[in-house]
């Protein structure tokens, strides 16, 4: 579309020094890999924390190494809950699919040499890195990590150590980390939007963009509008904690018989600000996965995406409605019940574009020639998990039904399936799919498949039973079941043990992935330019791509992104940059 794409700052010789090339690099590909490796580190930490939690829930008296006296205390359990959630949501589910793969492939897929603002891009990664250091650092400060959950509601999070260990320095570290993360994400979002709007290759009209690019664009818009709100909320809470303000803390609180010196704040204000960010954040995590799923399903069904335009509108619809549903987290918060009803209908409405996407994925498969590559297996798993996790949302969207299910394990099951493992399946699919392009080598297929089978069965065995104990009324964030009679039953205990065993097996299976990833970097079979016979621009350049992506020959685009099995064409795929003459068909 525009000629400035060819005059981006990236053009020129690649840096040769180690630091400029691999550490403080401004190359979007290096930055994408940096983000991905950060997410890989974070996911290892997050999984480890979840296994500790599961062990404790199944066998509360089990002696675990690393805990004073060998037993996990309730406050330690809650800090694991908090840190697992925070690390997974911010540093894995936001970092890998959007900042990682988006950074690497968005410019290439639209035919650009780099992001619009390469230096800002570098800064967003390094600020995210510092945020991660602060987050993990919270474990090591006096009092340990915070215990207020990833939602971090004040006053619990606003009064300091008086409300619990971890609410002192640990909580401050948490808030600093999140604020930095917001800052980095704002820079990233800005970059993604500017790049998509301004740097598309000639012929790459909006309706010729791959659905991955659409997903990254909508996600970036969500990020731009959402992270600023959380940043503000985080700073206000830091002020409440350190500077004596009372944005979120009302007058006259008494903790341990001591009156707190605050007045005039509102705890609900935090919830509104947090969820105004928090709900779009759910879509920030899942939309890139939807993009990848559409992309991969089309490629390995050898069929165009069914209803491409409907998919684009559904993405935009989810993004738009995603900002109007935050109140469904607050049905029982004390918010006006009339607002509750409005949020209920808006939430049920967001089920509609979600359903449109699901049906279109099935439509894409229908009549296809399905090739069960590892990335395809993960994309199929994504669809199954998305359906399973999405439908439980219909229960929670109704305030009357939520009166019972709110803050039970039913909710834990719901969001883990849809924004946890469905999004993770999107990341896995993307990894197996793009690894050959990123590193020039194929990942091992046998290990990949084994990893898929165990993980697919495993995640269902972990999270499906959580619905069942949620229906019994098991509240979430309970350190153990001893305090409530109806929880201390053999039935619920057996379910906890079952889920824990499933979690351990699934966690161990992830070692297959880590091994495969690093082993294939060095020993994987050499990948050709287009091993999947795919159509988008990244497959028209060498694997791995040269420094400025297209080696100076910037592409022009002549067709949509998913031209598979076009009648009359010689091959069953037509790359986007082929002219009608080259494609051997009159258009």
């Amino acid at each position: 579309m525009s000629s400035q794409a060819h005059a981006a700052p990236h053009v020129g010789a690649a840096p040769t020094g180690f630091v400029r090339k691999y550490i403080f690099s401004v190359d979007h590909k290096v930055i994408g890999i940096q983000y991905y490796l950060l997410a890989l580190t974070a996911v290892a930490v997050g999984i480890f924390l979840s296994v500790l939690m599961r062990l404790h829930l199944a066998w509360p008296t089990l002696h675990l190494p690393g805990f004073v006296g060998g037993l996990m205390t309730p406050e330690q359990y809650l800090s694991l809950v908090t840190m697992h959630g925070t690390i997974m949501i911010f540093f894995v589910l936001t970092t890998a699919p959007q900042s990682g793969f988006g950074n690497y492939f968005l410019p290439i897929q639209i035919g650009a040499p780099d992001m619009a603002f390469p230096v800002i891009n570098m800064m967003s990664f390094w600020v995210t890195f510092v945020a991660f250091v602060f987050m993990v650092g919270a474990f090591f400060v006096p009092g340990g990590a915070p215990l207020g959950g990833w939602t971090n509601y004040p006053p619990l999070s606003g009064l300091g150590e008086v409300t619990g260990p971890g609410e002192g320095m640990g909580e401050t570290f948490w808030l600093i980390s999140i604020s930095l993360f917001c800052l980095a994400s704002l820079m990233g979002a800005l970059n993604f939007i500017a790049t998509t709007i301004d740097l598309r290759a000639p012929g790459m009209s909006l309706m010729r963009m791959p659905l991955t690019v659409w997903a990254w664009l909508v996600t970036a818009i969500l990020g731009l509008l959402a992270f600023g709100v959380l940043l503000a909320a985080g700073i206000l809470l830091l002020l409440d904690r350190g500077a004596g303000t009372s944005f979120f803390i009302p007058a006259g609180l008494v903790v341990s018989d001591t009156v707190q010196n605050h007045s005039g704040g509102s705890p609900l204000l935090w919830q509104h600000l947090f969820w105004f960010f928090g709900h779009p954040e759910v879509y920030i995590a899942i939309l890139p996965g939807m993009g990848v799923a559409s992309h991969v399903l089309s490629t390995f069904s050898r069929k165009p995406v069914f209803g491409y335009k409907a998919m684009v509108y559904a993405l935009c619809g989810i993004g738009f409605l995603g900002f109007m549903v935050w109140g469904h987290h607050m049905f029982v918060s004390g918010m006006s019940p009339y607002s509750g009803l409005a949020f209920s209908f808006l939430t049920l409405a967001i089920g509609v574009p979600s359903a449109i996407k699901t049906f279109n994925w099935l439509g894409t498969l229908w009549g296809g020639r399905i090739q069960f590559t590892t990335p395809m297996l993960y994309a199929l798993g994504f669809v199954s998990l998305f359906v399973s996790g999405g439908l439980s949302g219909i229960f929670l969207a109704q305030p009357a039904v939520d009166l019972y299910l709110h803050d039970t394990y039913f909710v834990v099951a719901h969001f883990h399936l849809i924004m946890g493992v469905a999004a993770i399946f999107g990341i896995f699919s993307a990894t197996y799919f793009w690894f050959p392009k990123m590193f020039g080598r194929m990942m091992n297929d046998t290990l990949g498949r084994l990893h898929f089978w165990i993980t697919f069965i495993g995640v269902y065995c972990i999270f499906m039973p959580m619905h069942f104990i949620g229906i019994v009324g098991h509240p979430r964030r309970y350190a153990d079941s001893t305090g409530v009679n109806y929880l201390a039953t053999p039935l619920l205990h057996h379910v906890h043990v079952f889920m824990t065993v499933a979690a351990i097996v699934t966690a161990i299976a992830q070692l297959l992935f880590f091994f495969n990833f690093f082993w294939s970097l060095k020993f994987g079979a050499k990948a050709s330019q287009n091993p999947w016979l795919a159509t988008t621009l990244e497959w028209t350049i060498p694997s791995p791509p040269p420094h400025d992506n297209f080696g100076g020959n910037y592409p022009s685009v002549y067709r949509g992104p998913y031209e598979f099995s076009v009648p009359g064409a010689q091959d069953d795929f037509i790359p986007q940059n082929l002219t009608p003459a080259q494609a051997g068909q009159a258009r």
């Binding site: 809650l78 215990l147 509601y153 619990l156 009064l159 260990p165 009302p250 008494v254 009156v259 705890p267 609900l268 069929k303 069914f306 209803g307 491409y308 409907a310 029982v332 918060s333 019940p337 509750g340 049920l348 409405a349 089920g351 509609v352 359903a355 279109n360 099935l362 439509g363 009549g367 296809g368 020639r369 669809v383 359906v387 439908l391 219909i394 229960f395 969207a397 109704q398 009357a400 039904v401 009166l403 019972y404 194929m442 089978w453 619905h467 069942f468 009324g473 509240p475 964030r477 309970y478 350190a479 153990d480 001893t482 305090g483 109806y486 039935l491 079979a525 091993p531 076009v566 069953d572």
Partner: protein
């Protein structure tokens, strides 16, 4: 792995994946349907209505779940690579319109049907003759206050809060209306009589949840949030905290005792006579106090 030759190995994979999805569907439908995991029977009219709505939702989502997952499994098996050429299709606007309309009708229809139970509990204020009990959460106990014979809640003064010396709510010693206020660690209400709870918190956010009431409401510091219900079954039910409130969250538990009218009057009389300033907030005392019929003489 480079692109495989057509069809190689795809039947086994397709079968396995399709089969796994079918097993998943069977397991899920069986477990949701078999009734092994159930909420306890509701003890309010609205609770029954909520259960009906839950069942409706289970049917609608269940059918969508089964059809989509089986559709996925079928597509995986039926359209596996056997060397065929894929059918070329960019989509179908009729189908798009059809499933968009169907989901709008189904999902929003459920919302419309769920409206009544929510409105009946949340849009309508409690009757003027409802029994009013103030519920206060603090880390990590519940306290329940009845207004006493004068029908008036006494003033509270946060500076006078002293849970160890029997004034966990900080009843203002200077206010006569508070002299007869009853403060107990469990909630006793008469059957078939509307009860209004006024939820408060002293420190952080807590949440009041009784499964049998199908009712949950956060207790937010700085706010007084009213909820109401009419219990129709005599019995003892657990009150649990469902908002993360700190390290003792998992054991912040109390009891709801729904008793006959006569027993309720007896409970009030006993409490008025005893008028413990406030029982100590230990678990043992909580259990004991619920059925306490005698105590030290009133101050």
């Amino acid at each position: 792995m480079e692109m495989k030759t057509p069809g190689k190995g795809s039947t086994g994979t397709a079968l396995l994946l399709a089969l796994l999805i079918v097993v998943l569907v069977g397991w899920t439908v069986y477990t949701f349907g078999a009734g092994k995991y159930q909420p306890p029977a509701p003890i309010t009219q609205i609770g029954q209505e909520i259960d009906v709505q839950y069942q409706r939702t289970l049917w609608v989502t269940g059918i969508v779940f089964v059809l989509s997952q089986l559709g996925l499994a079928w597509a995986i098996f039926r359209f596996r690579d056997r060397g065929q050429r894929a059918t070329f299709s960019r989509g179908n606007n009729t189908l798009e319109a059809l499933w968009t309309t169907a989901t709008i009708v189904l999902f929003l229809g459920l919302g419309v049907m769920a409206r009544h139970a929510w409105a009946a509990t949340h849009f309508v204020e409690a009757d003027s003759d409802a029994i009013r009990v103030e519920v206060t959460g603090n880390q990590f106990v519940w306290n329940f206050r009845y207004a006493g014979p004068d029908g008036k809640f006494g003033r509270l003064d946060n500076k006078q809060v002293a849970s160890s010396s029997g004034n966990p709510l900080g009843l203002d010693a200077a206010d006569a209306a508070g002299k007869d206020d009853i403060v107990v660690p469990t909630l006793t209400v008469p059957v078939d009589h509307q009860v209004e709870l006024l939820l408060r918190s002293q420190d952080v956010i807590h949440s009041f949840f009784v499964r049998e009431l199908r009712l949950k409401q956060d207790a937010v510091p700085g706010m007084v949030i009213p909820i109401h219900f009419t219990a129709t079954q005599i019995g003892r039910y657990e009150i649990v905290c469902t908002q993360l409130c700190g390290l003792g969250h998992y054991r912040m538990r109390s009891f709801l005792d729904v008793v006959s009218d006569a027993d309720y009057q007896k409970f009030l009389k006993d409490q008025e006579q005893a008028l413990l300033p406030a029982p100590a907030a230990t678990a043992a005392a909580q259990d004991a106090a619920a059925t306490a019929t005698s105590g030290v003489a009133a101050k």
